[in-house]
Amino acid sequence: MASIFRTLADLWSLVVGLGITGKEFCKPGVTVHYPRAEVTPEAAASFRGPIELIGLDKDPAKPKCIACMLCVSACPSNCIAVTRAPTPKPTPEELKAMAEAEARGEKPKKPAPPKAPGTWTYDFSLCSLCGSCVEVCPVDSIGFSHDIYMVGTRREDFVFDQLARLARKAAARKAEPKKAAPEAASAPAPAPETAATPASEA
């Protein structure tokens, strides 16, 4: 008997469902009729474009990347290739210090390789935009770009040197900071780093 009443009470959820779809029906559509309508920065902000590196706050031309290679192993399509920056040659002072340490019978302190990428290439023609790399990156150095107008005629056009791309973008932003700043502020992107790279500068 109780189950009967509960079932009848649960019927109310059907009305709730109709209310939700009814309300959505009355709201205006969200589709942008491109190319008849222009894509607003707000609409472009939700677009998952090819991934890009995110620069340091202090030096936007340098990525936050620490070359940990997590993205390389997380990528299901093997479209990311990262190499570490080469270890800098020890300076004469360091060489001297190492030789002294060896003479004392201690372990010589060798310079560690820098925590930065040497090359960072990305093959967009293989990428499925799954976002695994964005998710796995421990320093939030990878984000989706919002480049909605990207075209190319050759396969090589879609293999990006991301370090060069980041430097180019940073230089372009430096060149016209006044135009870029309000545009970035108006785009309601989830992360401030992605908002700082508007699509118009691709």
């Binding site: 079932t7 059907l14 469902g17 109709l18 939700i20 779809t21 009814g22 959505e24 029906f25 709201k27 205006p28 559509g29 969200v30 589709t31 009729h33």
Partner: protein, 324 residues
């Protein structure tokens, strides 16, 4: 009925059938467009947009494409059953429109057993679906057909019980007389007296017409396209038209039985009838884009454990009240 069939009455029925065929064809186009627009708006999309202003010619373009396509019969399918099924699905539906009173003057064939005629010929639809599924030599088709039969046979019973409650109350099976027994104001309609019967009728009608959330015979995610998996071109087109025609019939009967037919608060006429029918059709579309498809055991549970006992109780109560 008269033993002598005059030339005039035959001509009247033939003309009515032609009119009904036109009505069904135009409404098929209209409803396909409406359905896609409703789906679009509910999902905040524009729906069909490119063909004609606001996409109003999209349904016409689709119809022309369907007509132009090649008719393919799968190897080792039964040719007779395979081609009979779409014909059998579509043409009996035209008959269902004959006794429906669009207005006092606009009734194809005012028979005193109109309700019975509709219920009897509506049964052909099940047979057509069964033939289609069986004749196409396809496992999805057969599964869809089996589901269609189990579902339609089950949902016919509560549907009948709801219809019977109204027939008991009005003491007639003539649709015109049932409309005549109701008033123009909404509280004078049968839905005010028999809300439960209306609910049972509408839910059973959804089941009978294989509409979501009861569209198991053609469940896309499980059965490709169910009974019409193997049909292309106008073979599929006929099933499609028949489905929409069946929806219109179900909503028309619902309007006649429960919503006062062509009567309204002012200016009685066919416009009231059509407005109510389209209102119900829109509700059906609204349901489709709101509710997920039920599982088969849920479908049968709902029928046998809820609608059927409720229908019987409602019928008994009606009979009891009428006896008093």
């Amino acid at each position: 009925m008269n033993a002598t069939i005059s030339f005039d009455s035959v001509l009247h029925v033939v003309l009515a059938l032609v009119g009904v065929a036109v009505f069904v064809g135009l409404n098929g186009l209209l409803l396909v467009y409406a359905e896609r627009k409703v789906a679009g708006f509910i999902q905040r999309r524009p729906g069909p947009y490119e063909v004609g202003p606001q996409g109003i010619l999209q349904a016409v373009a689709d119809a022309l494409k369907l007509i132009g396509k090649q008719l393919v019969r799968p190897d080792r399918a039964d040719p007779l059953l395979f081609w009979m099924a779409p014909v059998l699905a579509f043409f009996p539906v035209l008959l269902l429109f004959l006794p429906i009173p669009f207005s006092p003057l606009l009734t194809g064939w005012d028979v005193n057993l109109g309700l019975l005629l509709i219920l009897a010929f509506a049964g052909f639809n099940v047979l057509a679906l069964l033939l289609a599924g069986w004749g196409s030599n396809n496992k999805y088709g057969l599964l869809g057909a089996a589901r269609a039969v189990a579902q339609s046979v089950a949902y016919e019973i509560p549907l009948l019980l709801a219809v019977l409650a109204i027939a008991f109350q009005e003491g007639t099976l003539s649709l015109s007389a049932i409309v005549g027994g109701q008033g123009g104001m909404p509280w004078q309609w049968n839905i005010a007296v028999q809300p439960l019967a209306f609910l049972i009728f509408f839910v059973s009608a959804l089941g009978e017409t294989n509409r979501a959330p009861f569209d198991l015979p053609e469940a896309e995610s499980e059965l490709t396209a169910g009974f019409h998996t193997e049909y292309s071109g106008m073979g599929f087109g006929m099933f499609f038209l028949a489905e929409y025609a069946n929806m219109i019939v179900a909503c028309s009967v619902c309007t006649v039985l429960f919503l006062g037919g062509w009567k309204g608060p002012f200016l009685d006429g066919a416009w009231w009838f059509l407005a109510k029918v389209y209102g119900l059709l829109l509700t059906m579309m609204w349901f489709r884009w709101t509710y997920p498809r039920v599982r088969f055991d849920q479908l049968l549970n709902l029928n046998w454990r809820w609608l059927l006992p409720l229908g019987v109780l409602n019928l008994l109560a009606t009979a009891f009240v009428m006896k008093l």
